[in-house]
């Protein structure tokens, strides 16, 4: 049958039906028209126009290219939970292969071994990095992973408390998400103080107790400082019978103390710093935990098993935790997660290898130290504000009002964070380090 589609040019370009085929199919189904198949009562039938004009692929690419070009071309010295590293081209090439990109969750493992193995490898790399034996396939982002961690603390039998203690310097967005994630539980959220950018362990110890469900700390912190007494935090949590949840990111894990060694029960954080270009906050939530909590883990898990011929094979496993089986008693409502981003992160980690990751993480420390020092040399600026080691980013105190300085910097083509009336935050990685001299110069003009 000829597929001549000419007369049908007004339909979707992605429906491969010629008019002749459509007619034959309608005939087979026994109706006169497609409309007959819609069993929609007249009173709710939509008869209007949506008012959306179709465009050709060519027109639309030009249009969207012009629209996005309205974004100013700024060099971003921005961080605060969304970090930018260079993603090798080959990650795009490989992850965008249709077999990965256009596949669904692996409900039929016999024909999806490729993605399952890749996710198994992702889990395995997170296990290596965190030292915790169980990592899931992904959460949406660091904020929702923290929310899921809090909910996990609510499900764990050994925990009796209901208060989640978080640092006073927690990213405001993360706090907002956490509040919503605990909204349907008995949990409440309270803060503990910080001391020069790190956890004030003694103050935390005073606050923690029987009523504590979970203590959350970050390394590096949202201000870029590296925690110096994490094991002590872990001990406070242990003493309180609470979970210790550590927030971190996948690059920092390459250099900093492994979470397991400081007593973390759960690790959450940002894994999209590798594999994903800056994407307006699109993320990849890291989630790892102890063996004991295996059946309480939210999200997908890939396990290794065997096929009928006895060969190793991979499959989604422990699905009875999940919503499609357990419904309202599931460990989480999550279904679609960030699997493809996890794939990309795994690819990036595989390209870096152990050496490459240690080097990259070390560069994050060195560049931040160097830039902070140069900015600190300027009159009217103190940088870094905290007397700590820093990872990628640091706080800057300005004599002049910070918003005005940020605005001047933006006019010069630079974006930095305003975090207070006289506080800016600056983040540097290998991607923008080449512009650091220019930033220092722009700062010198602006302050």
């Amino acid at each position: 049958m000829s597929k001549r589609r000419h007369e049908d040019a007004d339909g979707s370009p992605y429906t491969p039906h010629s008019p002749a085929e459509t007619a034959a199919m309608l005939d087979e189904v026994g109706v006169e028209s497609e409309e007959e198949l819609f069993d929609v009562p007249p009173e709710v039938r939509f008869e209007g126009d949506l008012g959306i004009d179709p465009r050709s692929e060519r027109e639309l690419r030009a249009e969207l290219s012009a629209t996005l070009a309205k974004n100013d071309d700024l060099t971003e010295f921005l961080g605060r939970d969304h970090h930018t590293h260079y993603v090798p081209s080959v990650v795009d090439e490989l992850s965008e292969r249709a077999e990965f990109l256009t596949s669904y969750t692996q409900y039929q493992p016999e024909i999806t071994q490729g993605f399952l193995q890749a996710l198994f490898e992702y889990q395995s790399m997170i296990v290596e990095l965190t030292g915790l034996p169980v990592a899931n396939c992904s959460m949406y982002d660091a904020a929702t992973a923290l929310g899921e961690a809090a909910r996990l603390s609510d499900r764990v039998r050994r925990v009796s408390g209901t208060e989640v203690l978080v640092p006073e310097l927690l990213h405001e967005n993360k706090r907002a998400v956490l509040d919503n994630y605990v909204d349907g539980t008995d949990l409440s959220v309270a803060t503990y103080p910080m001391d020069d950018g790190n956890v004030d362990v003694e103050a935390l110890a005073d606050l923690a107790g029987e009523g504590t469900a979970m203590i959350y700390a970050e390394n590096p912190t949202v201000r870029g400082t590296i925690e110096e007494r994490l094991s002590a935090v872990g001990e406070v949590a242990d003493d309180a019978g609470a979970l210790f949840c550590l927030g971190t990111d996948v690059v920092a894990l390459g250099l900093l103390e492994p979470p397991a060694s400081v007593g973390a029960d759960v690790v959450v954080g940002e894994a999209d710093a590798l594999g994903l270009p800056t994407a307006y906050g699109m993320g990849l939530g890291l989630f790892a935990t102890r063996e004991d909590f295996l059946r309480q883990v939210p999200g997908r898990l890939v396990g290794a098993g065997e096929d009928e011929s006895g060969r190793r094979a991979y499959t989604l496993t422990l699905q009875t935790r999940e919503q499609h089986i357990r419904k309202e008693r599931a460990t989480s409502n999550i279904c679609t997660n960030q699997a493809w981003v996890a794939l990309r992160t795994a690819m990036h980690l595989a390209l870096l290898g152990a050496d490459g990751l240690v080097d990259l993480a070390s560069e994050c420390v060195r560049e931040a130290e160097s830039l902070a020092e140069r900015l600190g040399d300027l009159k009217g600026i103190k940088a870094p504000v905290h007397d700590r080691h820093h990872f990628r980013e640091f706080l800057v105190r300005t004599d002049q009002p910070a918003p005005a300085i940020a605005s001047d910097l933006e006019a010069e083509g630079f974006a930095v964070h305003v975090v207070g009336d006289h506080r800016l935050q600056v983040c540097v990685t290998e991607v923008n380090a080449g512009r650091a001299d220019d930033l220092v110069e722009a700062f010198a003009e602006a302050v």
């Binding site: 596949s103 024909i111 193995q117 990095l129 103390e257 279904c335």
Partner: protein, 462 residues
């Protein structure tokens, strides 16, 4: 065919101090073990893995309620625009392009759903459900209502139950009527002063339009509840019916299902939520508004706060915008028309019982006295992906089949042939299937009993 694990290719361990760590020893790890391979090796590894994976570009993927349709390639190019690769903390003034796209998508989705306001923040369908229920909860609380229950039909997606529970609601399960639809009497009996909302998928998960939707809306609204629309099956109705017109107060959209964004083997998705004017003040913060050609972010007056660290899955939203704009009114209508035609045509070609009907975009065949999972495995050997099996539960040995509009007549014939061959297979054939796949049948029970979740756990065993 076997591709070794990365860890089987290399087991490098690096001493962090020797590697030149710039930090004091007590702040760092001692060493790091990760496979360390060169780019050519990594490229081959993932190329080979990809070749062991089914996808929409491999062939039919008729997973019912998953709507695996063709993902246009041009949307990937749009999403790769470096001007869209921006940090979320930039000033709105410096991101007018991004905000224009987001605003445009809010508008498109509002039109398509017949809703008044839309948030794009939820990063997946289930996150959209959670958000929608949070919004409903906030609405009730603001109006002084104390309501503790959400009603969910037994045919609903598991996420409906889980999302309602996550927001702190008790879930009341509503059994399906004999015709596969909502039983109005049962609904009347279920609603009460405690009813916060009814969550409904329409067409439902066996492809039936809930013809009594106006009555359903009245019953729920009369009880003071809200009506929630699960957008999973919206692909069946584009331009033909809109949730807002049916009386729904809040809904989520599954952009990978309806708007062809790639599912990426399990995400990222996006689950925008649309609401009526009454609920708009409770939407997550921030939203985008336009003022004389200038776009800005704003916080809705009584916002529930945030459900994602930033603004959701931007790259996915951008692709959804591109798809909608590519098709326009007529393209969207055609997509639904062909999705429904394909499902009905395919049903005609399959030699097995299909309860209920007439259906829209999907149907639940029953494998009868066979195990639906076995039939699915047998289908694998015929070069197609099988349907969703054993769900919804009220259809015995269900094979929930949704070919989508993107399958050609030829492809539907292939799919039907695979179905029929698998149905005709004898018990021995079913049990030994699949035999032509990368892996043979996998013992999932054993994998769950003895979880090995990382290469470390494999090494530990061996």
């Amino acid at each position: 065919r076997y591709e070794p694990l990365l860890s089987e290719k290399d087991d490098t361990s690096v001493d962090v101090g020797e590697a030149g760590s710039p930090l004091p020893d007590d702040l760092t790890r001692d060493d790091l073990s990760l496979p360390s391979l060169a780019e050519p090796e990594v490229a081959r590894h993932y190329t080979r893995l990809s070749q062991m994976n089914w996808s929409v570009e491999s062939g039919p993927y008729p997973l019912g309620s998953c709507t695996m349709k063709y993902n246009p390639s041009f949307a990937e190019d749009v999403a790769a625009d470096p001007n869209g690769a921006v940090h979320p903390d930039r000033s709105a003034e410096s991101l007018q392009g991004t905000l224009e796209v987001l605003y445009g998508l809010q508008d498109y989705l509002a039109r398509i759903g017949g809703m008044d306001a839309v948030t794009l923040q939820p990063p997946a369908g289930a996150a959209g459900e959670f958000t929608g229920i949070l919004v409903a909860k906030a609405y009730h609380e603001a109006n002084g209502h104390d309501r503790s229950e959400v009603i969910v039909p037994s045919s609903a997606h598991g996420t409906n139950f889980a999302s309602a529970a996550m927001a702190g609601y008790d879930v009341v399960e509503l059994p399906s009527g004999d015709d596969g639809r909502v039983d109005l009497e049962a609904l009347e009996a279920a609603v009460s002063d405690d009813t916060a909302a009814l969550m409904l998928t329409n067409p439902n998960t066996v492809g039936l339009f809930e013809r009594d939707i106006a009555d359903i809306a009245d019953i729920v609204h009369d009880a003071g509840g809200l009506l929630y629309y699960d957008g999973a099956n919206l692909n069946a109705l584009l331009g033909r019916a809109r949730p807002g017109d049916m009386g729904f107060d809040v809904m989520h959209y599954n952009v990978h299902k309806t708007f062809a964004t790639p599912h990426g083997g399990g995400g990222p998705g996006a689950g925008p939520v649309g609401v009526t004017e009454e609920l708009a003040p409770f939407l997550p913060s921030p939203r985008v508004r336009e003022d004389d050609g200038h776009y800005e972010l704003f916080e809705p007056a009584e916002t529930v706060g945030k459900v994602h660290g930033y603004q959701g899955n931007w790259l996915v939203l951008l692709k959804a915008y591109a798809y909608i704009a590519r098709l326009g009114d007529e393209g969207l209508e055609d997509a639904s028309a062909k999705a429904v035609l394909n499902a009905n045509y395919l049903a005609e070609q399959i030699d097995c019982e299909i309860p209920y009907g007439p259906f829209h975009h999907e149907f639940a065949a029953t494998a009868g006295d066979r195990d639906a999972a076995d039939v699915a495995k047998a289908m694998l050997d015929h070069g197609v992906h099988p349907p969703t099996t054993k769900w919804p539960e009220f259809v015995p040995e269900a094979m929930l089949t949704e070919p989508t509009e993107a399958e050609s007549l030829d492809s539907l014939e292939d799919l039907a042939a695979a179905f029929n061959a698998a149905f005709d297979a004898d018990a021995a054939e079913l049990e030994s299937a699949p035999s032509k796949t990368t892996a043979r049948r996998i013992d999932q029970a054993d994998a769950a009993r003895n979880p090995r979740l990382s290469w470390r756990s494999i090494d530990a065993e061996e």
